[in-house]
Amino acid sequence: MDCATSPSPATAAVLRTLALVGHPNVGKSVLFHRLTGTYVTVSNYPGTTVEVSRATPRFDREASLLDTPGVLALPSRSDDERATMRALLNEDMRTLIQVGDAKNLRRTLNLTALLAELGVPMVMALNMTDEAKARGVTVDAGALAEALGVPVVATVATGGEGIAALTDALSRAAVPAPLLRYDPVLERDIARVEQLILANCPHPRLAARGLAILAIGRDSEVADWLAAQPGSADVRTALAELTAPTGRDTLPARLARERSSAAEALARTVTRQAAGKDRTLSMLLGRVAVHRLWGWPMLLGVLYLVYLFVGDFGASTLVGLLEEDFFGEVLNPAVTDFVTRHISTPWLADLIVGEYGLWTMGMTYALALILPIVTTFFLAFGVLEDSGYFSRLSVIANRMFAAIGLNGRAVLPMVLGLGCVTMATLTTRILHTPRERLITIYLMALAIPCSAQLGVVLGLLGGISFGATVIWVLAIVGVLLFTGWLASKVVPGKRVPLVTELPPMRMPVLGNVLKKTGGRLKWYLIEVIPLFLIGTLIMFGLDRSGALPWIIEAGKPLVVGWLGLPPEASAAFVMGFLRRDFGASGLFALQSELSMIQAVVGMVTITLFVPCIASLMMIIKEQGMKVAALMLAMIIPTAFLIGGLLNHGLRLIF
């Protein structure tokens, strides 16, 4: 969620570049932190890293180390895999550090079989050797190094084991020996394309043979790179002429299958499997989490614990202490007293400590109302993501997501959206098709509240009754499912069935959870405080100019007539245009005037209201201006339509 590093290709052009590459969830980001001291978010699910991060390694201040998104396989197929392929193609790549999972060497070598063809010196970090040992798996690192012709270092990145040996091994990095020769027909095609690349558009770093294999495998990034090279016309013509060999498999599938066989053969010779524990608490919890019956009580239990921690402890106890007791009784009266005594200009004093004052509204909302809520949320969230539970949710949620044209993989960005929709929008890159990404981004923009908004909702509705919270949840989930179902009918393309890895359940490391929470809070406050202050300033300006009373009056038919809210709620919706949680805070401030129905209707409407400015910018970045505008045009009427229907429906019942 936070990104401590920023890409700077201009700088990289003069620096030696090393890159951590490997499968998702094998510990690349932990190693990156160990080797550079720079923290990037680390979690226990595939797809935590969707963009390349860059930092200077401790062992060589003249170099640049990249942390790349995990690749299930190359040629690249998903957006995060394409980001890794782009880094391989466009950076001055001097050394690759392949990070592999020691307990699944065959899969690691499957990727090695392709990386070895790229002609870049390499070192292998065989990570998670502790987990392999617990399962009775031993890898003969010496024999593997001999076979590959590159240093192989056993590491446990989370515990810092093997890091020094890995750093030492970098000076011995070597171009790996090829793991296989493809069958003669494939070899003939590869050689033909390789020769054409060498003759017409050689890559400054990557071997033509590796590029040929990737191009024949239909890697879109390599295709784009070739298209951008002058003189690549012959290569592209040759690629177009390549027809699938006889049999039902496509060329890419045949290449993949041969690599897989070669990886299996080598893995078998260097791996020993002794009896390991076949029933641990981690395994038992993992099975319960995806069990068709027990998975649901476990999910409800987890949600209830989160509710108790965030909604009850964070949004009630902590907010009560901070907002009512500290800010309300001590700090704000003191600041108001100080300002009124020292500033004689009434409007200026009002700007700081008035009804729409920068301190009494902007800072008080940001620090006293939102901060305790997001802190408890990020803590709970960090524990859950490090435990590996989120990946298992994809199995439980798969059937429900099938109804909206998605598969369970989409649950990951949606759950991450409960932390921050902006960054979750970026995480949709782990989804495999543009259709899945479009539907998921739309649903998140419409119906996934971010942590701050969620906290305000839980704080307000939880204070009224548990039933009010349940109505809000049912309304939002109902809208999510119905809109998703409609979107799946409208957006062309077919649904992709789910095939996914389930990482082991692990005990979260307190240090990592705290570090992540700290990083997220810092990022959050940097974004929120300026926006809250700008929002307050706008509200102050509207109030002073007489526009706010006019807006409240003009909004009456919609806000009072249709939604059944007090007229002042119009101001909250104006605030909601800047950030939904700011708008929700506006409703929270009106809580003493709201009935149960009004509170539920207000919170449902503001939850479905426009995404925050940062999310909107991210949607534009990922989907383009036209799609973003279309989404907005659908979201705003939907929010008011649902809010009004709920208002009238609830009044019939209660």
Binding site: L72, R106, R107, R257, V395
Partner: protein
Amino acid sequence: MNATPSKPIPQPHERIRLIGTPVGRMVRIDDFGDEIDPLQREQLHAYGLSAAHAVKVLQQQPMTVLLCEHVELAIEHAVSRHIWVQPA
């Protein structure tokens, strides 16, 4: 984990669908059906599911869950229905 109805034990060389394999059974991947999308077939290879490789079936509901070299894989029935296996 799941209670499954007793099923006849497949004989060696008898090809069955992964979706019909009893929980707890070790099986070898035999083939992927044409119904599986080529990209998804590549994905299955990348996860380590390849011909003649032995995997253990951990669960069949709500999805097929396999243990493939100490890594658990969840496979939707729409795919596991078209994966052919043999008893290991």
